[in-house]
Amino acid sequence: MNWFSRRMLALLAGLVLITASAALVPYGRGFLTLPERVVKDTAGFAEQLVSKPFYIVRNWWQGLVDLRNTYEENQKLKMALDTLIRIKAEYDLLQQENETLRGLLNFQSRAHDYTLYPAEVIGRDVSTWDEVLVLNRGAKDGLAPGLAVMTDKGLIGIIDAVSTFTSNVRLLGNLSTRQHIAVMTTAQKKAYGVIEGYDSENGLLVMGKMPLDTDVHLGETVVTSGLGGLLPPGLPVGSIEKVRPGRDMLTRNAWIRPFDSAQDVSAVFVVKRSDGYTGEGLQP
């Protein structure tokens, strides 16, 4: 067998292997092997060495830029503060009322309570820019596959794979079928659905599985419904920008503009439910 034939054979064998690997390895498998964990942790350490000083300098520079607009911003914040005081008072009253009613009903579920764990983004690759973020927190911090990840604006993804010191976040636009998120609108008459696709050209999430007669209006806010099991309800996702009938003509699809497109993220929060539910037995 000559040189060219051997190369061609190896190339074809490689192609077969790669296709088999893509088809057989489950996407979002949740666990990592020991060599993968070692490589990821080592890379995570090196990435932190670069990203930490960069973010320190960037934040310092951002602070300087912000200083120029301080007076104008202060005026706006003062006005916003008056509104916030009123909203906070209303919120406290409603929370008290909620607690009382829950007590009366002997209602035990605390699914809507969650704790936020801050984490820094230490890695991101240009080829998978819209797919993966690497965080500086891992299994040693109690992170597990399937936990929600959000910024101060809203939900951006789900933890996909965890090594000892780092974890990968699968962004909303690239969730596997097993990671589809149950969502609902916040209108008086709620519409329930599932985020099951992504329109990458317009940066919109596709909310499907809504009955055809569902009442959905443009601009409505979409939050997690908590019906998927693992994510707490009420995490903000985005607002509705477009509504169309589904391809099967039996359901409706809504296109959601995410509150945070996660194009430039340096810090995030990992959301853990306070009721201790971890989705044990569920694969992400």
């Binding site: 190896a10 190339l11 490689g14 192609l15 292997l17 790669i18 296709t19 690997s21 893509a22 088809a23 390895v25 996407y27 993968e36 490589v39 990821k40 890379a43 090196a46 990435e47 060495l49 670069v50 990203s51 960069f54 230490i122 890695g123 991101r124 690759d125 240009v126 080829s127 998978t128 820019w129 797919e131 993966v132 690497v134 990968n168 690239n174 696709g197 990458s200 050209e201 194009q263 430039d264």
Partner: protein
């Protein structure tokens, strides 16, 4: 700066890997290009097939493990592509007019290969026009710009390395 070309190239490669891994250069949204794979392509044109193959394999595996959807997507492409480049480079004069466009085209070729696999498994439904305009074209253009900068840094060191290798070969 060190006069040892091997050390210079190794340090440069590690720095590029770290910069790519953190996504700091690419976070500007103005400049989207992976520098470490450009390094691999340019280095492969001057290296022998086996070291080039190892370099491609290592880089691909690193990106597959840290960021990839599954292991093999990048490992396979860069291993084969880089060893092929290393073989083919003997027949061309390795000037800036050859290296820079080739580096940009290599990134575009990888985009086409990855998109082909994504479409095969229905992981993407992006239109071809959008993909060509926003991924292939951008990578080719930014790849060439970045390759021009890397050329100035890398090629003198690679030529020195080749000379050193040829002298050792003659002495042997």
């Amino acid at each position: 700066m060190s006069h040892n070309p091997r050390l210079k190239l190794t340090v440069l490669f590690i720095v590029l890997l770290m910069v790519d891994g953190t996504g700091l250069v690419n976070s500007s949204e103005l400049f989207h290009v992976r520098l470490s794979t450009l390094f691999v392509v340019i280095a492969a044109l001057f290296l022998r097939p086996f070291p080039a193959l190892l370099l491609g394999f290592g880089t691909g595996l690193f990106f597959d493990i840290v960021f990839g959807r599954f292991i093999g997507l990048e490992t396979f492409f860069w291993t084969f592509y880089v060893s092929f480049l290393s073989e083919a480079a003997r027949f061309f004069y390795r000037s800036v007019f050859f290296i820079v466009p080739l580096a940009g085209l290599s990134l575009a070729l990888f985009d086409l290969y990855a998109d082909g696999l994504y479409r095969l498994f229905r992981w993407t439904d992006t239109s071809y026009v959008f993909f060509l305009r926003h991924a292939v074209l951008m990578d080719a253009v930014f790849g060439m710009i970045a390759a021009l900068i890397l050329y100035a840094v890398m090629v003198p060191a690679l030529r020195a390395l080749m000379q050193e290798r040829d002298i050792t070969h003659e002495e042997a």
